[in-house]
Amino acid sequence: MKRYFTDIYESVSSILGGMGITLMHLIKARNDNVTLQYPEEKWPRPERNIGFDHNSYNVIRSRLHVDMDDCIGCLKCERACPVDCIKIVTEKAPVRGEDLKEIKHKGVTSNGTRKALVVTRFDIDMSECCYCNLCTYPCPEECIFMTGGPNAKKHPIDYEFSEPDRSDLIYRFAKKGAKEGLAEMNAKQEAEA
């Protein structure tokens, strides 16, 4: 019998206690919420009271980008990729370290390395990318990196890269017409020779 009444007492007190907690949340609803009104408020999120600012982010994994002017075609990123979403094809440059104006190929990287290869194909399938960041570390020229982030002036926030067609998620970074241009040049050279 005593158990019966303690049960009733516990039920009533614990339920009222719980209702008190929820009522406090109801009254102070805006205090703790972390909701982002997505299309209007975009990440980087407006200030919350967690106490850090966006400049202190280390890195943001938003999308892979390649600076083709710096790429020397060493295939290190292709080998580092655990899901094989990077595909690179290179061809030998006619002269090492020289600009090829016809196909907008730059001969020397910003680190001063002279390129021996022309990258004719540099495809990244972002639908397969697992955002592990492993490809960005072995790159000797630091030309492949994750874009986005609050401070990226060069590349604005672009995490909304959804596409209606899956094949549109294959990003082709190589300069357009590089392959044909190179073949044409080689043919011309052969003809001259």
Binding site: D7, E10, S11, S14, I15, G17, G18, I21, T22, H25, D32, N33, V34, N49, I50, G51, F52, D53, N55, S56, Y57, N58, V59, I60, R61, A80, C81, P82, C130, Y131, C132, N133, L134, Y137, M146, G149
Partner: protein, 373 residues
Amino acid sequence: MGVVHGQEMVLNIGPQHPATHGVLRLQVKTDGEVISEITPYLGYLHRCFEKHCENVTYEQVIPFTDRCDYLASMTMNFGYVVAVEKLMDIKVNDRVQHIRVIMAELQRIASHLLATGVFGLDLGAFTPFLHMLRDRERIIDLFEMTCGARLLYNYMWVGGLSHDLPKGFVEATLNFLDYFEPKIDEFENLLGHNKIFVERTADIGIMPAEVAINFGVTGPNLRASGIKWDLRKDDPYSIYDKFDFDIPVGQGIKGTIGDSWDRFYVRLQEIRESVKIVRQAIDQLPKDGDVHQSMPKKIRPPKGSIYSRTESPRGDLGYYIESDGSDTPSRLKMRSPAFTALGVLDEIAGGWLMSDVLAILGSLDIVLGEIDR
């Protein structure tokens, strides 16, 4: 007393069901609401993790370990990294160790928050679940700040970490802990001591200690059965022996030792202990030290094998690595804690009502990504 037996009905709970925490199919035999037999069918989320690992190099395995237990990626990384480092005999410096511990314990808090919250959701309490998600969000913000990813981090590398801590991380973490500690009490009052919740979980799904050991159940589920067994204390890896923390065990406050309420409560207590560890680790964090210092240029472990265990939020996470001296593992087996926890379901949940079975399933805290691998 005469009992009327109806016809038995076979019912499939899942693969698409709100309470199965993923794609799990439980084939149950029911007599009215009473469930007499449970047969779990796994494999709906099988992604050939172990076969993959035989085809990629050691560093490329780490993103795959993330995806096994997607709710506790940091500790999955941690376990793998510890195993490979043991195999290669690499010693990492103190700063790396401290950062790893901070990350692993924050991850444990996040994982337990979700586990306890979802447990409430299984019993129909929606609000605690969203309160838990709210706080987990802040932890994920901390991770995002550190390594740029919110769920699948690929943060701990063999011999180091992918990034050093960002500027302001320590203050942000301390702020978070100050904010978070009162919330644990609030959560405990809102859900843990609610009479309906207690009635639904106390004395339900009792797992005696012998059964737990025999079925290989580990982690909070084993501790709820009253056994003080935690790899962080009993077989310390990394620098866990430096910290002062308790191991909460089930005491049967509301019912019997090893019931669903104990499993819930042990997790809640572990959140408190993890907060303690994070505070200590931040206090002792060495100011200098390069996180890439002892990273080998090429990971080629010597020929041999190792079985290494670490404490993930779900229990003993073991990695069995067989190396043939090349840069890809010749065999990598993950001993997943949720796999064994699910194995005990039929034993402890048979004969209960349908609502209880789903409550027990929720209390075991399984993650199908890790079970199916």
